[in-house]
């Protein structure tokens, strides 16, 4: 457990004192610093919020944006919803897989990229759209796959 987590837990509980509302914000904050939520991290969070470990694991496993295994420095979400599909998202995903040498859902061996499918990012006006570390990039036609990977992103 990192020393600052205690402080973060106190802040989350101060802002959201009722029920278990502090849990999601605290998980977000720790993941932002650590990159992902290791099993030990979830145990620490459980202790900090006085919740059963199983409960915290159950909640964390429900939401797709909590990463339960290590991810790359850049997490690339490619939207594959219908509007993006009509604009070429499958070809974009295909080219990204080729360039990175991984399948969707995987992380490159050097830990630089994780490539993930997103189920509609609510940005169909930017189709085909992607997010790099949750920052919108779009439109990204398949031929711009390279540029997407080179994008600088703020944390």
């Amino acid at each position: 457990m990192k020393p600052e987590w205690k402080e973060w837990a106190q802040e989350a509980k101060a802002e959201f004192p009722k029920a278990n509302s502090a849990l999601l914000p605290l998980l977000h904050r720790i993941q932002r610093a650590e990159g992902w939520l290791a099993p030990e991290t979830l145990s620490d969070v459980a202790e900090l919020l006085n919740l059963p470990v199983q409960y915290v694991e159950s909640v964390a496993s429900f939401y797709s944006l909590y990463f339960k295994q290590p991810v790359g420095k850049k997490v690339v979400h490619v939207c594959v919803g219908l509007s993006c599909m009509l604009a070429g998202s499958d070809e974009l995903m295909h080219r990204l897989e080729e360039k990175l040498g991984v399948s969707q859902g995987q992380t490159t061996p050097d830990g630089a990229y994780t490539l993930l499918e997103a189920e509609c990012l609510a940005a169909c006006d930017l189709a085909p759209v992607a997010q790099v570390n949750l920052r919108y990039k779009g439109p990204v036609p398949p031929e711009k796959a390279d540029e997407l990977l080179k994008e600088e992103v703020s944390s």
Partner: protein, 430 residues
């Protein structure tokens, strides 16, 4: 085309997301007017008379919903649903990223009207920028004295909290949203009781969509009569339609309700791409049945779209042209629901799984003649048999696609391939 914007004022006023610019353009005047000239119940009555209906998809009259709160002295909450994730819908994203104060002003007025002392905005996890913009604007509103204790000397106090989900479409369902906001898995709750009676933390709660609340300051400023002067008697006012797919200008368009679908596609969204024609249109987000081109003159109001065989829903209009394979489109939409089913009810969890499997099989040319009836049979076994609307929502497009394009489905089976030559990507195992 030139138009006066009420909801999408960010289109004509750059930087309207900042407090000083928002106020230069009349921002928070509606709040001042509300606190100075209206008693809370007069505001509820104003919203009732405006005929404003929920813009999240169900179209329930907002003022009527507000009137359901029991008068028993328990604390009340306003929760704004910004978990926008219905494929084809992207209006709330534009509103919160570009004009957060408009929503915040609407929330303060609405909270005053319903007597809430705390209000929450629940953003989907992917709305990182949107939630940051809202958090920044909330801070500005506190600094300006529009939030906190005794707002503008009125005696009314309010705190607003910005909360971020973590990736789950089902949290757009209001009771699942409340579960998530309480720090649990986003499984929908049994209703009744409805949130108005037992909502957030067990207290009376109003859950409204971002766009719904965004309408409130304009209604206070211009009056209920102004609002009912647009649209129809049962569907008055303004709606933001999100148009995407095979049109020249995908984007959000603010229209008076009852604007014809054809006008939206041809004039606002710039029509179809060169040489292409419309195959069908999904008028209200991925959860609604498709409309054929002979329905293009349908006025976009709740009743007319229903009569035409679909629903206005969230206003996410996806346009498919003659190059699009209907089986592939159906497979993609059903897969969305498979991924997003919370897994609690067997018909939804298993049904979306099997339908995706069968649709993919047909698209890949490996379907058989019994598959179409099997799809309809699965749909029949799901319809109305799930706890929340997600399972039913997965059926609308597919069932209507089989009804209108049965020959195209059958051609896939007969020819053992996609007659439109849609490319199927194999999963590459690296």
């Amino acid at each position: 085309m030139s138009q006066t914007f009420y909801l999408l004022r960010n289109r004509e006023v750059p930087q309207i997301g900042h407090m000083d610019v928002y106020r230069e353009h009349g921002g928070y005047d509606a709040l001042k007017k509300s606190l100075a000239e209206f008693e809370p119940e007069q505001l509820v009555d104003l919203v009732k008379r405006s005929g404003l209906r929920g813009r999240g998809g169900a179209g329930f009259p907002t003022g009527v919903k507000w009137g359901f709160l029991p008068k028993d002295g328990r604390p009340r909450y306003l929760v704004v649903n910004s978990d926008e994730a219905e494929p084809g819908t992207f209006k709330d994203r534009e509103l919160i990223e570009n004009n957060p104060h408009q929503l915040i002003e609407g929330m303060i007025i609405s909270s005053y009207a319903i007597g809430a002392g705390q209000a929450y905005v629940y953003c989907r996890g992917e709305f990182l920028k949107g939630s940051e913009e809202l958090a920044r604007a909330v801070k500005e509103a506190y600094a300006a004295g529009f939030l906190g204790e005794n707002i503008l000397g009125s005696g009314f106090s309010l705190d607003i909290f910005v909360y971020r989900g973590a990736g789950a479409y089902i949290c757009g369902e209001e009771s699942a949203l409340l579960e998530s906001l309480e720090g649990r898995r986003g499984n929908p709750r049994l209703k009744p009781p409805f949130p108005a009676v037992a909502g957030l933390y067990g207290m009376p709660t109003i859950v409204n969509n971002v766009e719904t609340i965004t309408n409130v300051p304009a209604i206070v400023t211009h009056g209920a009569e102004w609002y009912t002067s647009m649209g129809t008697e049962k569907s008055p006012g303004l709606k933001i339609m999100s148009v995407s797919g095979k049109v020249n200008r995908p984007g959000n368009y603010e229209i008076p309700l009852a604007t014809p679908l054809r006008t939206l596609i041809e004039e606002y969204a710039g029509g179809m791409q060169e040489g292409r024609s419309i195959k069908c249109v999904i008028p209200g987000g991925s959860s609604v049945p498709l409309l054929m081109p002979d329905k293009l003159d349908t006025p976009l109001d709740y009743e007319s779209v229903l009569q035409a065989g679909s629903m206005l829903g969230s206003g996410g209009c996806i346009v498919l042209d003659d190059t699009v394979c209907i089986v592939r489109a159906a497979a993609r939409l059903v897969k969305f629901y498979r991924e997003e089913s919370c897994g609690k009810c067997t018909p939804c969890r298993e049904g979306t799984y099997w339908m995706t499997d069968v649709l993919d099989r047909i698209e890949a040319g490996a379907g058989n003649e019994a598959d179409l009836d099997m799809l309809l049979d699965i749909a029949d076994n799901m319809n109305g048999k799930c706890f929340c609307p997600l399972g039913d929502a997965s059926l609308g497009f597919m069932v209507s696609a089989i009804k209108h394009f049965r020959d195209e489905f059958e051609a896939h089976v007969r020819e053992h391939r996609c007659p439109l030559g849609a490319k199927v990507y194999d999963t590459v195992n690296y």
